[in-house]
Symmetry: C2
Subunit: 576 residues, 2 copies
């Protein structure tokens, strides 16, 4: 067999193992393979009972309340979400590992515990939680989309998996990612591509794109993603979810697998993707209550700070807040639906008596370039090491030309060729650095971070609150979810990774064919900006969710979540 | 002029600038140049009044109380310490920058503020604080011991200098360091060598060795040092001081200069060196109260945690503590005075009802090697860049052969030649790494840190308290201060830097010619251990202070300081 035949064979076997884990009774009846919007399928396919639909449509806080008072058993909740996850998978190809039997055993044990002791096992009692493929669970593979990693069964739980289980969660599926994790789409040789349930010709984003599609279809009430440059926030935005990028080392990463390990300057972080802001808070408080610093040596020794959540340094929830709106980053003008979303948020906040000023971007291009040098510091060496044993190719583009379409749930986009798309790759065209060069990049980064902080603090003279801007309201991306293979920019997310600013994504609207017509040409920042502008048509982004992110300063996680809640409530009050 | 003549000329001019800043009236009357122990000279030289002696002999907490109630004016306190600092300098060559006029102006302003408002400016009102040369003060040079940096006047205060001044401190002198900062002694071409006031044929340690000698002679009540591998703790131990290495990024570093910038894996930290444990606490609470995270983007957003200080997770100051004593690290047996100090601490703790178990070293050699690869990752490139403009030589040994002895305060050690001394240099013999190799070293480090934490948590079964060991009691070095040029080991300190464990140094005793006779040969761990063992004679370390360090887990700063206080009190009660 040729090298390719060999690794293709491994893929076939692996996919079969995955598919065999799907109960036959949960195979989806026929549905139109060209259907773009599949968000209604789970409720209409006939596989879910009324109760299962009610359960799976409930956000985390409702689920936890009904689990704690035994209205719903953990077995019932796990069954419902497992079933809906498998449905979601058949629609979007979002799952990598399926371990429902094990989950049901655990759910039964949790029910037994509650019955016999009258007490929940922990604050997440009975809650199904899906995991990005990276998060190791004992006995389950973490292939990370590398053919070469097929067969790597975890010998122990990651710290986060341990903590989630101790706090009462039920782990049942893992979700798809791009090879190397360094793409804002989701495609790899092992599992293929994940689609966006709102429009399957669009990407679900990445790198936590499996999680994004799964949670959007309510196949999971809350999933764990990871974010090194936008990988939680982009799929959260593209799939209409609440997603949170915590500050570095707040949520324990130890024991999860990763690419580019040892790249400690802008580390990846784990965080939640869910359907309510309450879900975000519940995840954070539950994980921190387990004191992750006693198991992960780089986890911050910092409990959940309820004072910070009550905005003790931001007017104590009594005074108006002042937000800075980033209308553009000085590199790329966002598309019309994104601007409309920012305006909706602005109006909602003004209506609630809050203040809003323009956020002036500060050296975003320099910060972007600095990140690029860090992410690309070793060229392809890391990925070569990960793929060497089978010789599988390193994926150098997310375009669909490499797809085998052997997996279901993908609708090939029609705009795949002949369209100029922006291209900014994290690790293309840069020779590997020496350690000394890398230190120089790190030093430059610290300088930029200090300047940015001073820029932020300097807004105190403009807010009218006596404080600097309380948070920034920023696009998550310059566009909504684009067609497969066309999502090549992450400038609006990875700027905040470089600065280590926590950010929560709030869904706002969807692309509207009438409201979001292309506007007049702005004064372009450059060719990239022009290309991005020309790429926009409302049709191309049909039905795609549109979101914003709320950004705070380093380790302001609690305050950012609270301000996200304030904005979310303001939006619901005014807009809906 | 030759290259050497040129840079020597710069040195002459720089030293003259420094010396011109010393008031003529404060020039020390003749004292025997060969005198070894000069600790009594400041009080006996006739330059200090009785009140000035009383002031300068007072620890931080007494000074602050008397300053706050105006018993002592800031001008009187500043004058007394400035005078004693200049005396200390003439005895040990500890100062690099002297700016007394500016300090007295500020002290007068502080006195005026207190008088007119009835309130102190801040918690450090009127307290003189000395600074390691790195800590930038507007308008003052930071040469860092590089001839090439002569004339680099800071354009703005470092964040820490700003905060100290806001909190009421008076800055007045900066102190000596080794070129590159990467030595545990203090010698550079600009300022020469700093001696140990307890025995001037011994090193004051390093890299904060100027600070060590200055505070030991009570020329400063509290100094700021920095510690990347022991640079606060070694000079604190060698000079009989309390010194604290905080966790990474607890005390703001932004705006201070450094060598090896961009080496972010095991960053240097700033911390206090002083004459009481109360002084350590006061420094930490005062700096953190200023919210350094609003100015330094990498400073942890974490206030002083009084609960942690009250040992909320360590028996709440109500239950006995259990300490693990590191008798040796499996690489080098400590010298007899060090073992005696550990035994004194052990007995004092047992007498107070605390528990003590042996701490088993865990992969200390591997952690040491990992640190060495990080510190040495760029070979000499960083130092070459820093010295290139003048062509001054990079110092490759701390032996006295390079000394010009043009500066006072140095007594040439008699054991300088013909003695085999251990040699473990941080950046010798290692080729520069690529960024990919460096990432590999970082990854290995994270693995080791996790294993070490699990090793720590695993002691819960042996302590009898239900908790893991509350803190480790460790040697600070395998020896007390050795003769100049002979301090080439830092294995007992930099292990904790790699793990990011905070550590406070507590003075215990001094080398005793009768009690500390060489013991029988232990079973050597290797040649290095044998060499270290043979190097010991009580005479060679005559009069040298002996200390221990108390080590906690990452970010347990508050608890470590409190346990240091408990041990310090136990020692004073039982031993003195």
């Amino acid at each position: 067999m040729s090298t390719e035949e060999k690794w293709r064979q491994l893929v076939i076997e692996k996919r079969k193992r995955r598919d065999d884990a799907i109960p036959k009774a949960w195979i989806l009846p026929n549905h139109p393979p060209d259907l773009l919007d599949v968000t209604h399928i789970p409720e209409q396919c006939g596989l879910l009972s009324t109760l299962e639909i009610q359960i799976t449509n409930s956000p985390v806080e409702v689920l936890l309340a009904n689990l704690a008072n035994a209205t719903w058993s953990a077995v019932a909740v796990t069954t419902a979400f497992a079933k809906r996850a498998v449905i979601a998978h058949q629609l979007t190809n979002c799952l990598t590992e399926i371990f429902i039997d094990r989950a049901l055993e655990r759910a039964a044990w949790l029910d037994e515990q509650l019955k016999s002791t009258g007490r929940v096992v922990g604050p997440l009692h009975g809650l199904p939680i899906s995991l990005k493929d990276q998060v190791s669970v004992k006995g389950i593979e973490s292939t990370m989309g590398y053919v070469s990693w097929i067969g790597q069964y975890a010998e122990r739980n990651s710290v986060l998996a341990d903590i989630l289980e101790e706090q009462g969660a039920v782990l049942y599926v893992k979700t798809n990612i791009p090879q190397t994790l360094m793409w804002a789409e989701t495609f790899n040789h092992v599992f293929g591509r994940t689609s966006n349930p709102y429009n399957r010709s669009l990407t679900s984003g990445g790198s936590s794109g499996g999680e994004g599609a799964l949670v959007a279809l309510k196949g999971s009430p809350i999933g764990v993603g990871s974010d090194i440059g936008g990988s939680i926030r982009i799929p959260s935005a593209f799939n209409g979810l609440y997603g949170f990028r915590p500050s570095f080392n707040r949520i324990p990463y130890a024991g999860s697998v990763n690419s580019m390990e040892g790249q400690d300057a802008i580390p990846s972080v784990l965080g939640p993707m869910t359907t309510s802001i309450e879900g975000v808070k519940k995840f954070m408080t539950s994980v921190l209550a387990a004191k992750p610093w006693n198991r992960d040596p780089i986890a911050l020794r910092k409990q959940w700070d309820e004072d910070a959540y009550n905005l003790i340094e931001h007017g104590k929830c009594e005074e108006p807040l002042c937000f800075g709106i980033l209308w553009n980053d000085g590199m790329v003008h966002p598309h019309p639906p994104i601007i409309r979303a920012l305006e909706m948020v602005k109006n909602a906040l003004l209506a609630k008596g809050h203040r809003v000023i323009d956020w002036e971007p500060f050296k975003h291009m320099e910060i972007y370039e600095n990140s690029r040098r860090i992410y690309g510091a070793v060229g392809r060496e890391d990925f070569q090491a990960a793929t060497a044993s089978t010789g599988e190719p390193i994926i150098s583009s997310m375009t669909t030309e490499y797809d085998d379409y052997a997996v279901s749930g993908i609708v090939r986009p029609e705009v795949d060729s002949g369209v100029e798309v922006p291209e900014m790759r994290p690790f293309a065209g840069q020779p590997p650095l020496s350690a000394f060069e890398l230190w120089g990049v790190h030093k430059k980064r610290q300088d930029l971070r200090r300047e940015y902080l001073e820029h932020w603090q300097g807004t105190a003279s403009r807010t009218g609150t006596g404080r600097p801007v309380d948070a920034i309201i920023s696009p998550v991306a310059s566009s909504a979810a684009p067609p497969h293979g066309m999502n090549r920019l992450a400038v609006y997310t990875w700027i905040w990774n470089n600065l280590d600013y926590p950010a929560v994504v709030i869904p706002v609207t969807r692309v509207d064919q009438e409201l979001d017509v292309p506007g007049p040409e702005p004064e372009f920042f450059g060719d990239l900006d022009r290309t991005v502008h020309k790429f926009y048509t409302p049709e191309r982004f049909g039905n795609a969710p549109v979101s914003v992110q709320i950004v705070g300063r380093t380790q302001e996680d609690e305050a950012v979540i609270r301000m996200g809640d304030i904005i979310d409530k303001a939006m619901k009050l005014v807009v809906l």
